[in-house]
């Protein structure tokens, strides 16, 4: 058993033990799915977009992963406040191992959360059109999970307490979600909005999941994968660096 594994396991245990957290964080995506899915469905279909649920579900899956991942990354702040962070910071293992264990743990939790929502979507009427591409969708889900856990880790490494939390939610997490292709298609958008969507990594993640499961890729499998993969690697490096500089 290595340091990475035990820290991964810790994250998973903490998640599975807090039932209120599981249920609580499922609530928001389900609400979005039902309200938007059924509310905008008829308009979307009339405008010639086809079934809105088919379009929306991958966006909602990505949303669940995005939010959970950022939260588990930010958990470092709690660990700092409740003291557990010290225990890992003085241990004779490299901080890279610690950050990898934490990030993989957080990403696994986020992936589980995304998988739950996936099931909920299917129950709500989402049809998987290419079953053999489900593993590709899962790969994209995992990449989004790692990327945003690493972003959470980076943010938490430079914040001392939870006071900046509202700021992060309103100015980073929510814009990343709303200014992506999660809720509406890129086609026909005003130019500037398209440009914004193009530089948002969430767009590529959603496109990857949607391409694999229902609509076909807007950017192409290779592009989605390359953009997300490279960004994830960069953010992991940044997160590890910032984490390694934490002082108590």
């Amino acid at each position: 058993m290595s340091a990475i594994y035990i820290l991964w396991l810790r994250q998973l245990k903490r998640y599975l033990r807090s039932r209120s957290r599981i249920v609580g964080s499922l609530g928001q995506p389900v609400l979005f799915l039902l309200a938007l899915g059924f509310g905008f469905g008829p308009i979307f279909a009339k405008a010639g977009g086809g079934s809105y649920i088919q379009f929306l579900a991958p966006g909602i899956i990505a949303m669940a992963i995005l939010f959970t991942a950022v939260f588990t990354g930010i958990e470092i702040i709690w660990d700092r406040q409740f003291g557990f962070l010290k225990e890992t910071l003085v241990a004779p293992v490299s901080r890279l191992q610690i950050v990898l264990g934490r990030t993989l743990g957080g990403a696994t939790v986020a992936l589980l959360q995304g998988a739950f929502i996936f099931v909920v979507c299917v129950v709500a009427g989402f049809r998987v059109e290419r079953v053999r591409l489900v593993p590709v969708a899962l790969a994209f889900m995992f990449l989004i999970a790692v990327l945003f856990t690493a972003i959470g880790t980076s943010i938490a490494s430079v914040l001392e307490d939870m006071q900046g939390f509202q700021l992060i939610m309103n100015f980073i997490v929510l814009p990343l979600f709303f200014f992506s292709d999660a809720l509406f298609p890129m086609r026909g958008l005003p130019k500037f909005l398209r440009a914004v969507l193009r530089v948002n990594p969430v767009t590529y993640g959603v496109d990857g999941i949607r391409g694999a499961l229902s609509h076909g890729f807007h950017f192409g499998l290779g592009t989605d994968f390359a953009v997300l993969g490279i960004l994830t690697a960069i953010l992991l490096a940044i997160g590890s660096y910032l984490f390694s500089r934490i002082q108590l």
């Binding site: 058993m1 035990i6 903490r14 004779p92 108590l248």
Partner: protein
């Protein structure tokens, strides 16, 4: 005896406030070293710098021959620590907290279960091993922290107020174990405490720090002789005075508070 910890001219400033002010001391290998001082004297801050988690403003440190600001990994391999503040994961059980520590500190898998069991029994938590720590009382948590700190056998053991909040029986029990570690295994113990009779009983050597400055550094018997005191407590008061250290701390705390409010408002 050679020194396993050597500190020269160590300084730590927090903004304009100097928490550790040109501190120098040496800790001989295998000794039990008491680092004493009133509240806010700079003990914990010094320990943080020795244990790689806080960068000094200036000065040099050698721990087991290495510099905590550069050879962090090497230094971390040489010590174990029990922090003054809580550092357990409340969601995990007592056993899981111990196990996590054992893995991080590379305790051999074959020895893990046995050692954890023995130490949990030693601090009388064996029957609560599978309970989540959040259900524990303050004293139980403290005992678990101590058991965890003793799990791997480092060269140096840092104990920041290890017996804080424990009853006298448990304190005696723990100290005899720590003393035997020093005597039999040659572990160097660096501890802080506010219980002077405890320090008098176990320490070979003490350093007294006050307002960030070292004001005395002697074997306990020598310090008592120098100050003409019967007990270490009297000697401590003789070198640090009678005033309670609140004013300074609270004005600094006020500044920190203002900083917080201000940052929060933006």
């Amino acid at each position: 005896m050679s020194a396993i910890i050597e500190v020269n001219d160590l300084v730590k400033n927090f903004g304009a406030f100097c928490a550790v002010d040109h501190v120098s001391f040496r800790v001989p290998e295998g000794s039990i070293f008491g680092f004493l001082g009133p509240n806010g004297a700079g003990k914990t801050t010094t320990i943080k710098m020795l244990t790689t988690v806080l960068r000094p403003t200036s000065g040099t440190i050698r721990v087991d021959g290495y510099d905590p600001t550069r050879d962090q990994q090497r230094v971390r391999r040489s010590f174990g620590i029990v922090f003054q503040d809580p550092s357990l994961d409340d969601e995990l059980t007592a056993f899981e907290n111990m196990e996590l520590h054992a893995v991080l500190y590379g305790v051999a898998p074959a020895e893990r279960k046995g050692k954890i069991g023995a130490l949990l029994a030693f601090v009388e938590l064996a029957d609560r091993r599978n309970d989540q720590v959040k259900q524990f009382s303050g004293g139980m948590k403290r005992r678990l922290e101590l058991a965890r700190g003793l799990l791997h056998q480092p060269k140096i053991l840092f104990l920041d107020e290890p017996t804080l909040g424990l009853d006298p029986q448990t304190r005696n029990h723990i100290w005899s174990f720590i003393q035997s570690l020093a005597k039999e295994k040659g572990v160097t113990v660096f501890f802080t405490t506010h219980y002077m009779e405890e320090a008098d009983r176990v320490a070979d050597l003490v350093a007294v720090i006050d307002h960030g400055k070292i004001v005395a550094q002697d074997p306990t018997a020598e310090l008592k002789r120098k100050t003409g005191s019967a007990t270490l407590e009297d000697a401590f008061i003789a070198v640090t005075g009678h005033t309670i250290r609140e004013e300074e701390a609270s004005s600094v705390d006020q500044l920190r508070m203002m900083g917080r409010v201000w940052r929060g408002r933006r």
